[in-house]
Symmetry: C2
Subunit: 904 residues, 2 copies
């Protein structure tokens, strides 16, 4: 902002606001530093002009005019008219033509330009300044009446469409009519007279529709176009786009007015677009297309096939059309020089637009080029090696979220596909398999070697084995953070959730969607990156991780401060996490271990028991299995910390609901049906999320946590004996609301540790800490930290309680909330730094206040979200923990956060 | 504390701790100001001695010795022994007898005494100092061997019981054996030789049981008794009592050692207890009982019938036994004088114990007398009028919670009753009626003029009409804050909740409890103050509110700062609230208005509609009914503020669940069954408390809130036109989490207000505010207050979310929590000032920070809880709102809070 103010002062009298910035010739007032004021397009045109590149002269009306326009009831600042006219004069002086001069008319383009490229707004009006008189001047000047009238009709068409708000179909009808009359197919076959006729017909249509003639005064045309740009800032499509991309309305748009250059004045003219490197692969090779004798829109329209600008490109595409390198070697050489200048100047891969008018190259646009994640990686690493950018900059060039693309199999983009339904892109990657409608079915099919897609209305912890067995998961209900979505992301399974178009008939064994019925055993494909469900098998491709990936991640690890752990409980997940660079386990959810066949029976026996003795008998059966789990986990993670959360979900999650299933349970555990039913009934809860779960189970049934603590400590002793490694488990107690809960439970755990130590003769270290997942725990962190040796922020539950918002139920109205602008982002995906974040900051401050070295981490879904990781860095946490497949994302995001903090 | 330190310094050398305080004679070191140090008993004995009342001399071992004892592994301070012996010497000097002197023995009593009276601890050892030698001295001195040996055996019995820990049945057996041998029935028929024999047998039993003889050394006896008092501080009963009554363990107990006086040395001796006023009615009349020739324990034991101390008392009880006024007129006159001295000195109704030894009166205890609430009221008002206390003190004398007793019908205490089950005392008062097992049944029976008790497993908003129709409510599930309990308290209906012993068979039309079956149409009685369920009709009495009640409430209103409003929506509730002195409605829950027959159909139509248009059609039917509700409410409350909360519960609460019921709904609203079922299914939620409810409905279905706002404003206009009153409705939006929600909804409400104003030509004032019931709203209060014109703290939901604790589900484990000492009180009954309270403080500060005059209230259940009201006073809220029947309690509690703040 300081720069803006300074720049403003240079060319205008003190006190008066500079609303217009000129560029071109030897006088450019702006530059790429003024993007906020001039928009991306205007700023970069000025910048290119500043560094001596050939840019047609022009001027930019600032974004502040847009702000003024909306703040003052759609009026312009008083000084604007004079400043715009001065801008026009600036162009006239350089081009040597006059706006509205019938003999030597200046034509201009008018373009919108916000800070960031924004589809949905008015784009461009070309050839502005043409009217019934100047068209003749243009014809005379260039000696080409056909070109002049073609330009005029293009102008009327564009202007009527984007400024006057007419349907452009009206004009197409006129054109088709003329072509039919003349018996021709292409526009090129029409001559000057035809275009004259078309212009007359167009003007008639305008007058017919609007009740007034097409504006002939170039100044009126100019103000009309400028106004249209500003109005387009608030049209519905622009508003929607801004909401989706977090662009503040206050930014406003600039308007750039620039002298026209023509790529369509003959065979020595051309127009084209190029990238300074290959945007698909990142290869350091010039990459672009051009068309001879064409205007920019012709390249996009796809009527003629564009030609490669380089010989190498032509060869690669197998085209016979000459490359620019061949057809216009001098101009190509100039363009290649421009490419190098731009890369050196911007230190980025650029996306450029250019026009060649009568053998002379003009640059019309440059901006940062979009690229695939793979290309981004290669470009960043290459540029750092080339010395164009630093390693830190290379790290910052990669969007952490985009890494996801590299880590999961994706659909072959060339394959055909029949989409039968859409849902939410809940867990990335693609998978094909036969449909199974229950977890058991999925598991038994998988055991027979079948690839399975598990299809459920929604999933619950009871479905875990089926989810593990399946290649992908599809649900008809639930959002991006539903059980299915969270677990699938944790497992690295593709998942499409909340696909409301699908109706599942589990009993009938089929699903219907998009008019198609898929029966049990038939195949579908899901694309969890896009949220699509397809009929049959669509081939996928397994991405390979390049050496550049490892290089960049190494650089990232070098700068990040935050540790990165994984949420994992199975050996497979733990191994994946290590492979992706996790530095430990931040959340091992022990309940997932109880759903295994064999264990669930003992677990249910425990739940149904009506005395402590009965529960202890059942728990004694679970102990060796649970211990074996931990032995395996400690071995995989050897040397790294493992945080184990004691039993968290309410007990009714372990019991089935139907009478039939309850009867089976009764039989399995040798209990009376009525007893089982009564217990199941008694455990039912109105709001299980806020019910008898977490440490509340530990208070009611101390024997459960004691068994788990015993399993952990005995496993630690066993592994340290066997491997010689030091195993230091971190025992984590969920859902603490008061210090007293923790005091009681920690003392029981300490007691078990002492017993195990005594019985085995081995002394070992361990930590006892707590989840901070309730507002009260955050507020009382000072006293809780007097007992807790670490905090792990359970931001899923903390978000649920802080917002009073159920993750499972929110999907029914979060859509309304985003549509009405209440929430910009799903708070379960990106941490609400204002509300939940304040509680975290409070807990950090108070917790460290009473225990200075308190270890702090986060283990909610947010631990893998880049924006949330930036918050964790700021809040001073020690580590984030996320699902194994998000570990690389978290590592990179942590590096970004560290670099962002360094620079701020 | 300052007073304590100062007092300590007076009689001992600087630096040494004074562990023992003497009283009696002309040297009393303590007084009633030292209750913390000397316990209630010791402090008051010293105090009585100070003001010249006849108190046998003694000394008190301080509570600090108890603290030292537990802090240092059950040992005493080094200086204690010497200080105790000095205390004994003090007694000896005054009494003129010596501890352990075989000829002239001093006997003492040893009593425990904490700051407050605490059952469960060691109470008293009398006659300490007797042994085989001193018993003879006692006999010789008094010339009464029978008395001496009776005293000795009493001592052994008590000492063995409370100090040596022997079963006292052992001694009763010996005594019974002797009586049988002698062929006598009463103790009085035994002579000196018999008691000698008994003493010998007792000693034998002690030695037999403990392996050592009964201690003969008086000093050993004394230390044994002192130690027993301290040990009893930590016995299980004392611990439990402390937990139940919020008494900190750190307080400790004192021990008082006092010279014995005997009421059992002959016909000129007596013992008795008295109240300085009538503890049942509060009448200013001396009230008490005495026994001639008896020890204190005989009065309590009930073997002999105690006699009234006054002639009036004797006449009233119709007794023929002479009153003390008649039998011992001189002593009575002295006692009557003591009564006046005590009342004047303590400015309280006192509960006293006295002994008359050989015609001389000795005071053994005075303490504040317990009394019924009615008596408390009368005594407080009388004493203020008598000038003994100020009006403020009178206000502080009444426990607000105890007022509840006065406001509800109670069971006739004289009636017989057969209790068949117990549950929680969820809503006070008693009621009888025939059992009904559904709301519809209750309603139709009530319409036929039947008194009904509605019996449900649990209630839901659908049962409201049945609850209204019933005289009382009984549930088998749910706690003190379950739906049934909350609604019943709001309606002033008695309720017993969570009576797990009852099994309801709705289909069969009967309930079973305590081995009894009660069929549909049979009568039960419930006592919601005690949580009892009784067979048949138990007669009740309707309490009358005395003039003292109105007087005291007037004084309370004069000092309180907090406003008191009521939570009410029906005309009946609103009228009750006004009658009890409410100053407006703080919470009118509009959803309760939708369950009425006729409305529920339109409501369901609205819910099932799949378009805004359909919803608007249904809402148009509800509008006139809702408007009529508000017209009635505004008329009743004329001139007072009415806060109306827009629709809050999730929509599925308005739909039934079973397929059969859904089919009926479909028929009633003329919709397709499948549509209704699908809608009901789609609305189902995992955690409805955190679901699509509150303002979230307003965001998704703006038309609902618009209809409600219209009904409110149109009613306001209608009533102001009709009555000339100014009606200023306060529109309250529930469950706000973000400012944006409120912005959107307030702007819609403002729009409706403008329309109504335009259509009616009437301008009116109104406020739009919000509930603060989510942690996030409290944290973001600053920005929310930029839009909200008032805040009302919804502490029920705020407690649920801050603790992550469902009110409906917590009952399953809150018992464990209280048992294990995690929670001292149910946070849904008494506000958690540390967690929830901090959020309220934050919201108050931030809200007033951005809107200085922001009106602040509370409308959760806590609004009627005295401890929580004290917090509201401290937090600076403007008013509390509670159920109508708690309004007087809140008024009084608010006065207490204001006075408490003034004095602190």
């Amino acid at each position: 902002m300081a720069a803006t103010k300074a720049a403003k002062g240079t060319s205008k009298a003190r006190g008066a606001t500079q609303w217009v910035y000129v560029f071109g010739g030897d006088k450019s007032e702006g530059g790429s530093g003024l993007k906020n004021l001039l928009g991306g397009k205007g700023a970069n045109l000025a910048e290119m002009s500043n560094i001596g590149l050939p840019v047609p002269p022009g001027f930019t009306v600032t974004t502040e005019v847009c702000t003024h326009y909306y703040a003052s009831g759609n009026t312009y600042p008083a000084e604007l008219a004079a400043q715009v006219m001065a801008g026009v004069a600036h162009i006239e002086a350089i081009v040597g033509a006059k706006f509205g001069d019938p003999r030597n008319p200046l034509l201009v383009s008018v373009r919108s330009g916000a800070r960031v490229s924004m589809p949905g707004m008015m784009d461009t009006v070309l050839n502005l300044g043409l009217n019934d008189l100047t068209v003749e001047g243009l014809a005379a000047k260039g000696g080409d009446a056909r070109f002049a009238y073609d330009s005029y009709r293009r102008f009327i068409q564009m202007y009527a469409d984007v400024v006057l708000g007419m349907e452009h179909g009206v004009f197409e009808d006129v054109l088709e009519h003329r072509k039919a009359d003349k018996g021709v197919e292409g526009d090129t076959e029409l001559g000057a007279e035809d275009w004259k006729w078309v212009v007359a017909a167009y003007k008639e249509k305008v007058e017919e529709e609007l009740g007034r003639p097409f504006p002939q005064d170039p100044a009126e045309q100019l103000w009309g176009a400028v106004g249209a740009v500003f109005k387009s800032w608030m049209n519905q499509r622009a508003i929607t786009y801004r909401r989706l991309h977090d662009i503040p309305e206050a930014w406003g748009t600039a308007v750039t007015v620039q002298a026209m250059v023509f790529g369509n004045m003959g065979e020595d003219c051309a127009t084209g677009v190029a990238f300074t490197r290959d945007p698909s692969t990142g290869e350091n090779a010039f990459y672009g297309e051009y068309l001879i004798n064409a205007q920019g829109e012709d390249v996009v329209a796809g009527i003629r096939t564009p030609q490669s600008i380089t010989i190498a490109g032509r060869k690669r595409s197998g085209s016979t059309l000459p490359s620019m390198e061949e057809s216009m070697p001098a101009v190509y050489a100039e363009l290649a020089r421009v490419r190098l200048v731009l890369e050196k100047h911007y230190r980025e891969m650029e996306d450029i637009e250019f026009t060649v008018q009568r053998g002379k190259l003009y640059m019309l646009q440059t901006r940062t080029g979009k690229r695939t994640t793979a290309a981004a990686l290669k470009i960043a690493v290459d540029m750092a090696r080339e010395g164009l950018i630093t390693q830190d900059e290379a790290v910052l060039r990669i969007d952490p979220a985009a890494l996801d693309q590299l880590l999961h199999p994706t659909l072959d983009p060339k394959a055909k596909k029949q989409v039968i339904a859409r849902g939410l892109p809940a867990s990335p990657g693609a998978a094909s398999g036969i449909v199974a409608f229950s977890a058991d079915e999925a598991e038994s099919l998988a055991e027979k070697g079948q690839a399975v897609i598990l299809v459920r209305n929604e999933t619950s912890p009871e479905d875990i084995h089926g989810m593990h067995a399946a290649k992908g998961i599809l649900t008809t209900r639930g959002g991006m953070t539903s059980h299915a979505a969270v677990v699938a992301r944790g497992m690295g399974r593709p998942c499409v959730s909340g696909s409301g178009e699908i109706r599942v008939d589990e009993k009938g064994g089929f699903l219907t969607a998009g008019g198609v019925t898929v029966k049990r055993g038939e195949t579908i494909t899901i694309d969890g990156s896009k949220g699509e469900v397809m009929l049959g098998t669509v081939p996928t491709v397994q991405p390979e991780l390049s050496g550049d990936f490892a290089t960049l991640m190494g650089w990232a690890d070098g700068v990040r401060r935050l540790g990165v752990r994984a949420n994992a409980e199975t050996p497979l997940d733990a191994a994946t996490a290590r492979r992706f660079g996790a530095e430990g386990i931040g959340l091992c959810r022990t309940e997932h271990m109880f759903f295994d066949e064999g264990r669930i029976v003992a677990m249910r026996e425990m739940i149904v028991a009506d005395s402590e003795k009965g529960r202890r008998t059942a728990l004694a059966k679970i102990l060796p299995m649970q211990r074996a789990d931990f032995v395996e986990l400690f071995k995989i993670m050897r040397g790294q910390p493992v945080t184990i959360r004691l039993l968290d979900p309410p007990l009714h999650e372990f019991l089935p609901h139907s009478d039939k299933d309850l009867a089976e349970v009764a039989k399995a555990i040798g209990a009376d049906v009525e007893t089982v039913r009564r217990r199941s009934h008694a455990l039912r809860e109105s709001n299980p999320m806020l019910g008898h779960r977490g440490c509340r189970l530990g208070i009611s049934y101390p024997e459960i946590y004691e068994m788990q603590a015993r399993a952990i400590f005995e496993a630690a002793v066993e592994v340290s004996r066997e491997t010689g490694d030091t195993v230091e488990p971190e025992v984590m107690i969920p859902l603490i609301a008061t210090r007293k809960e923790l005091d009681i439970l920690k003392s029981a755990i300490d007691g078990v540790a002492e017993e195990v130590s005594k019985a085995t003769g081995v002394t070992f270290k361990y930590l006892v800490g707590t989840m901070i997942e309730l507002p009260r725990a955050a507020l009382r962190a000072k006293e809780i930290a007097e007992t807790a040796e670490f905090f792990s922020f359970g931001t899923n539950d903390l978000t649920q309680t802080t917002y009073g918002l159920s993750r499972d139920d929110a999907s029914s109205f979060l859509g309304d909330y985003q549509r009405r602008g209440v929430l910009e982002r799903d708070p379960f995906q990106t941490l609400d730094t204002e509300g939940v974040g304040e509680l975290i900051r409070i807990a950090v401050e108070r917790g460290r206040g009473s225990r200075p070295g308190l270890k702090l981490g986060i283990c909610g879904e947010h631990g893998g979200d880049p924006a949330s990781i930036a918050f964790c860095e700021e809040a001073g946490l020690d580590y984030v923990s996320c699902s194994p497949y998000r570990v690389p994302i978290a590592r990179l995001a942590a590096a970004h956060a560290a670099l962002g903090k360094k620079s701020s």
